[in-house]
């Protein structure tokens, strides 16, 4: 308590933490002693056992840090509190640690064990924050600990912790680049993550650590495209930039095909219709350019982001379209409209007026807008633009006026019709009182006059008169040059100007002096009678000038033009040298030559390569193999099931998922992943649905040309009566097309799942039935295993009233029959039907026998489950797993040694094979030598734990712990088989 009162006294009773810590300024050495005391006081507070005092002390310390004062000598006192129970104190201690750990490495190590403990905490947020701080401490000694922590966190259950792990990767990489290879492995793992929370962060890590490993993206490309809209805005920017680079390496240039048939095609890009026709025609003739569906997918999925509130996202999409989209894309037009409101860099005429300048704009914005206006100027709108420019010239901002005059000059050079108008206007500006304006106009007029001097001798005369008044050297020099250049047009005035200039020669600026010499030389050559003496006088003056450039020039010119006995052959050509026809200058924008940088990047803005800038690669000559992006269906299953809270549907194109509307409502998505298709929201109503289907058909037409091939393939596959093959599902996954026949629930399991035959086509007289264990929870009864059946009628006659009869079961087993199926037309493409039934097998592999009846026939059939289907996956943490395993030792544990199949020696393959053999889920595990799986039997909920420990040379050990020994033994056999074959 005494400490607190002392503190209060010192502070004069105010408890504000905002009080500046003047004492610590090293410059104020005078009060150093009292300052020392004050820190003592803080230490005392930190040592006390009252949280409120600690908090107060920490607040003051953090305030010191925030103000940039050094508080490092408090390190030992602060670090002690790292394990403090009070969350706020803890948080502030973390802040302090991160700031000073680098300076006090040894002491910082004291805190590491606290974080390591935190990493194991059951609360995900504590795990995450422990990882965050641990990875932010820049102490090289703990690199291995960080590496371990990141690896562990990367397979954490909580997406938030995984996100933190992704953030930690670049931190570790900057601390120790040698960890790169290991980090890439973690990145690869995290890239496969399905949650939107992680996606942005991991792509960020990818960009910082290994942007060259573009191959890691292949498998995740479609997923990233589809998730994009739900990723938080900062992640979107990073992902879009990365995908731009990716697309440039993987797809063909969509604009290149223009050159194929460009001869008969006019350049008007707005006439998109025409182009399309031409495209179709060209397609018929030559091997056409067909946009890769993945390329299309990217463009389509990024387009809605143009309406983001975040300008950075809009800019990112804009640059993506700029670099990737076909030039004729209508989207481009919309795009520029969007930018025009957000960013001063668009090029579209109807939006001209958006670029009109206000007097309140900052100068650099004004200059940018001016640039845009100048670029937009053409014959039709030049008059309005010039009128605007006239207003700008009156502005008080002189830099801006100068820029405007230059802009007028550029308009005049670009558009011949208005050159005279501009010139007249500029000449009037010459009488402006402001010198800067006059000077700038002179410079611009000089450039303009060079284009057609003969017409404008009166202007030159006018300018000659100005030499008396204008003092700005650049302008004087320009006038003199003009007069010299066109002295033939003003033969009377030119010598007079020279006379005046000779008088004031000594007082002129260097640049003007040079031009006087030039003028003298030119006049001497054309009109030596009048100006001989003057020229010699000027040259003599120049000979004794202080500036050596001027002396050199004078000497050089004298030798060249004044014929002496020694003079060589050159003087004969002096006239040709001096009065050669000079090409008119090109007035160009200061913003030219920037296009080699990626739009919207820092490098583009600065027009200089910034550190870490990734060059945008050129389009490839031939597209790399697109099949690398095909993903095994297992992953697509999860992608479909991913919770999306915003509709994934793009504006056009066929990927409107019926399910997406439904799952865009969080409460719908809470339910099982398979149920989306049915859960169309009440509020979207029938209206939206019909519209959707309409759009769907429209877009299909649109797609027709481009994806004809795909479509054929699809049709073929739809005709096949067998359940979806892998290729079909990958197709669907890429396009996110969901037919009404193939609801996500039915697509979901097909890849992992084996199909079993229930009734052969021949014995069934045309009717064939296959079944599989769908691994979905069977909603009517949780104790039942869902069996999904697929009926295919390949007979010529109809099959009606499909139903079950006469079920024969072992005692205890139960069956929930599927509802009767009506008519099946044989010729219908969709002559397949699906039905789901539930069977409670009582955790035994006994078969369920029953009769399958149609309106004419009865077939005896039976379903026997493999043991792996009698369980359902559960989620355990590593610790829980170990605990449970400890309780299922002895009789309940079965261990087998095995040699792994050559193709199945990596972790991924093992996981896949085990999960295919048995319906189990993976348990996160710190070591990469072990894979763990957990599940419960469906009926009795007995725990099933599987461990596969790999050793050298493909040797491995399989351990199954299960209460039910029969199931355990059978499962060992099945998994053994799966892993060795």
């Amino acid at each position: 308590m005494s400490a607190s009162s002392a503190f209060n006294d010192e502070k004069g009773g105010s408890s504000s933490v905002g009080e500046p810590e003047y004492g610590h300024d090293p410059a104020s050495g005078g009060i150093f002693s009292s300052d020392y005391k004050r820190h003592d006081d803080l230490k005392e507070m930190l040592d006390s056992n009252k949280d409120s005092l600690k908090l107060e002390a920490m607040k003051r310390i953090v305030a010191m840090i925030a103000r940039g004062k050094n508080a490092s000598d408090l390190f030992p006192a602060v670090v002690k509190n790292v394990a403090c129970k009070n969350i706020e104190v803890k948080k502030l201690v973390y802040v302090y640690l991160v700031r000073y750990a680098e300076e006090q490495q040894d002491l910082a190590l004291l805190s590491i064990s606290t974080f390591q403990r935190g990493l194991k905490d059951p609360n995900q947020l504590i795990r995450a924050s422990a990882l965050r701080v641990l990875s932010s401490i820049r102490v090289t000694i703990i690199v291995p600990i960080m590496m371990l922590a990141i690896k562990e966190a990367a397979s954490d259950m909580s997406p938030y912790v995984r996100k933190t792990a992704a953030h930690a990767i670049p931190k570790l990489y900057s601390l120790d680049p040698e960890q790169k290879d290991q980090l890439i492995e973690v990145i690869e793992k995290l890239l496969a993550d399905k949650t939107t929370l992680v996606a942005g962060s991991v792509v960020m890590a990818f960009e910082e650590v290994c942007p060259e490993r573009i191959d890691l993206i292949h498998k995740n490309y479609r997923k990233l495209c589809n998730l994009l809209i739900d990723v938080e805005e900062w992640g979107q920017v990073v992902i879009i930039n990365m995908l731009t680079r990716y697309a440039r390496t993987q797809f063909l240039n969509p604009n290149i095909n223009k050159t194929f048939y460009g001869s008969d095609e006019d350049e008007d890009e707005d006439e998109e219709e025409k182009e399309k026709k031409a495209e179709v025609a060209a397609m018929a003739k030559r091997k056409p350019y067909v946009m890769d569906p993945d390329h299309r997918l990217l463009l389509r999925n990024t387009k809605p982001l143009l309406q983001s509130r975040n300008a950075a996202v809009v800019m990112a999409v804009a640059q993506l379209y700029f670099h990737l989209a076909p030039k004729a894309e209508v989207a481009l037009l919309i795009l520029f409209e969007m930018i025009s409101t957000l960013y001063t860099c668009g090029m579209f005429e109807p939006y001209l007026k958006s670029f009109y300048i206000r007097s309140t704009d900052p100068t650099q914005i004004k200059v940018l807008k001016l640039e845009v206006l100048t670029n937009l100027a053409n014959e039709t709108n030049i008059s309005t633009i010039l009128r605007e420019f006239q207003t700008y010239i009156k502005s008080m901002d002189k830099d801006f006026v100068a820029a405007t005059i230059q802009a007028i000059g550029r308009c005049a050079t670009n558009i011949g019709e208005v050159r005279d108008t501009c010139l007249n206007g500029l000449v009037q500006l010459l009488s402006n009182r402001d010198e800067l304006v006059v000077a700038e106009s002179v410079v611009v007029i000089k450039k303009l006059l060079q284009m057609q001097p003969e017409k404008h001798s009166d202007i030159i005369k006018h300018m000659a008169k100005l030499t008396d008044n204008i003092q700005v050297p650049m302008a004087r020099a320009s006038i003199l040059w003009l007069i010299g250049e066109y002295c033939e047009h003003v033969p009377k005035i030119a010598p007079d100007v020279l006379r005046k200039m000779a008088k004031s020669f000594t007082n002129e600026e260097d640049i003007v002096k040079l031009q006087i010499i030039n003028l003298a030389a030119k006049l001497y050559l054309t009109n030596s009678k009048q100006t001989k003496l003057l020229t010699q006088y000027v040259l003599n003056l120049a000979k004794y000038d202080q500036n050596y450039d001027i002396r050199d020039r004078a000497r050089f010119i004298r030798q060249l033009i004044v014929p002496t006995e020694k003079s060589g052959a050159l003087s004969k050509y002096a006239k040709k040298l001096f009065l050669a026809l000079k090409p008119a200058p090109v007035l160009e924008s200061p913003f030219k030559d920037r296009d080699h940088f990626q739009l919207g990047s820092l490098s583009h803005l600065l027009n200089a390569k910034a550190g870490g800038y990734q060059e945008l690669p050129d389009w490839p000559e031939a597209a790399p193999d697109p099949s690398v992006r095909n993903v095994e269906v297992k992953e697509s299953v999860r992608a479909v099931g991913t919770v999306t809270y915003r509709d994934t549907g793009a504006l056009w194109g066929p990927q409107k998922m019926e399910g997406s509307e439904g799952c865009s409502f969080p409460r719908a998505s809470d339910s099982a992943s398979g149920s989306e298709s049915g859960s169309g929201s009440e509020e979207s109503g029938s209206g939206s649905e019909s519209e959707e289907s309409e759009e769907g058909s429209e877009s299909e037409e649109e797609e027709e040309e481009e994806e004809e091939k795909d479509k054929k393939k699809k049709k073929k596959e739809l005709k096949k009566p067998v359940p979806e093959t892998e290729s079909l599902v990958t197709d669907l996954e890429g396009l996110s097309l969901s037919d009404s026949v193939l609801s996500p629930a039915t697509i979901a399991p097909s890849s992992v799942l084996k199909n079993y035959e229930l009734l052969h086509r021949i014995t069934g007289e045309g009717l064939s039935v296959e079944y599989c264990f769908s691994r979905q929870p069977f909603s009517p009864d949780a104790n039942m295993v869902a069996v999904q059946m697929q009926f295919t009628n390949s007979a010529t006659s109809d099959t009606k009233n499909l139903h079950m009869e006469d079920v024969k079961l072992q005692s205890g087993m139960r069956v929930k029959e599927f509802p009767e199926i009506g008519e099946r037309e044989p010729e219908d493409i969709q002559c397949t039907a699906m039905a789901v039934m539930g069977i409670d097998f009582c955790d035994s592999t006994q078969a369920a026998n029953f009769q399958l009846c149609t309106h004419t026939r009865k077939f005896f059939v039976s379903i026997q489950p493999p043991v792996g289907e009698l369980m359902r996956p559960i989620f355990l943490t590593e610790n829980e797993f170990k605990k449970e395993q400890g309780q299922l030792m002895g009789m309940n544990e079965i261990t087998e040694k095995l040699t792994l199949d050559a193709k199945c020696r990596n972790e991924h393959a093992i996981v896949q094979r085990v999960t295919t053999a048995a319906n189990l889920s993976r348990v996160p595990c710190g070591s990469d030598k072990e894979c763990r799986f957990a599940g419960r039997t469906v009926t009795s909920s007995s725990l099933v734990l599987v461990t596969v420990a790999t050793k050298e040379e493909g040797a491995a050990q399989l351990t199954v712990n299960c209460e039910k020994m029969v199931i355990g033994t059978m499962l060992v056999k099945d998994i053994l088989l799966a892993l060795t074959q």
């Binding site: 953090v62 950075a312 007026k353 007097s359 650099q364 006239q390 820092l602 919770v643 509709d647 969080p666």
Partner: protein
Amino acid sequence: MIHSLFLINHSGDIFLEKHWKSVISRSVCDYFFEVKEKAVDPENVPPVLQTPHHYLISIYRGKLFFLSVVQTEVPPLFVIEFLHRVADTFQDYFGECSEGVIKDNLVTVYELLEEMLDNGFPLATESNVLKEMIRPPNILRSVVNTLTGGSNVGDTLPTGQLSNVPWRRAGVKYTNNEAYFDVVEEIDAILDKSGTTVFAEIQGVVEACVRLTGMPDLTLSFMNPRLLDDMSFHPCVRFKRWESERVLSFIPPDGNFTLMTYHVSSQNLVAIPVYVKQNINFFETGSCGRLDITIGPKQNMGKTVEGLMVTIHMPKVVLSANLTATQGNYTYDLTTKVLVWDIGKLNPQKLPNLRGSLSMQAGAPKPEENPSLNIDLKIQQLAISGLKVSRLDMYGEKYKPFKGVKYLTKAGKFQRLSLSFL
């Protein structure tokens, strides 16, 4: 990405620094100060500066510079957007974003910055999520905190970031369920000397204040949505519903937020609510000038124009103004040369007029250009574009919320130029 952040006040003091990676000496700001010295107006400081080892990206908000230091390639807009988001967050937390407020809440600010970026990459920027982790200060709590030694760091851990709807936390409860929407439109217009419109457009924004229990799903529809030109939405709005049905369907964040901003372009006819007759002359001799301004109503759709104010930036040579206003009062600031005429409500029967003489520096030449007028006004209960909200429906919750819509038209950048020809 973002390496460090410095907050710099108007006079060039660095009063807060935060580093997300290793510490960068504040001497890096010297480059910035150099440029700032040169620029007359703080708004004229270029947002991106290049120094030998770093890039400095800055914004100017509330008389403060937010200066971030970047070392490698990064989209500049990304940083600028983020800095604005930081400033918005301060505004949201403390009611304003000024030096005094930030200094008073230094620790909270520091904690916020810590949460918003991790290793230079944005971590949590949604205000709903942040508010759960770090509670905003209020008087009651600070009293309670000093008495009980409590803290303003949330003891419950946030769920929002982990839920399906990152911008809304779970378990929101209110006794009065209300949803208010403000449609605020600003007219940006430039009129030339004769009063014809050179350029006019409307910038609109729909601000929402939603205090609803649970997880409501709202649908807001407009009578005339086709009016809107380009929109940008809060991330909660479902793009697809807007594209197909032109309704805003969203699960709202809790509290105040900007639902959408839109733009009604110059192609549509924009009604200009007032007309201005102006006559400003400077005489060649006698170093004086005359000023005569009258304002009258025009196309205001039967509503009263309020808060009318005229601002004129006079040329430097104008020393003083001796004017009489029939309504409101005027001030002339001698140092900044700004004449402000505060009129208030516009009475159509008796048009406000300001006239009198201006005295100029003796011997100075006549100013070349006539000053332009900036006009400020407000019209309550009217969206000048004609936009109307037709209905708000709520799904997902049982109770009946109280709903309200307010319209307001303001002058944004409303300028009247005095054009003269070359």
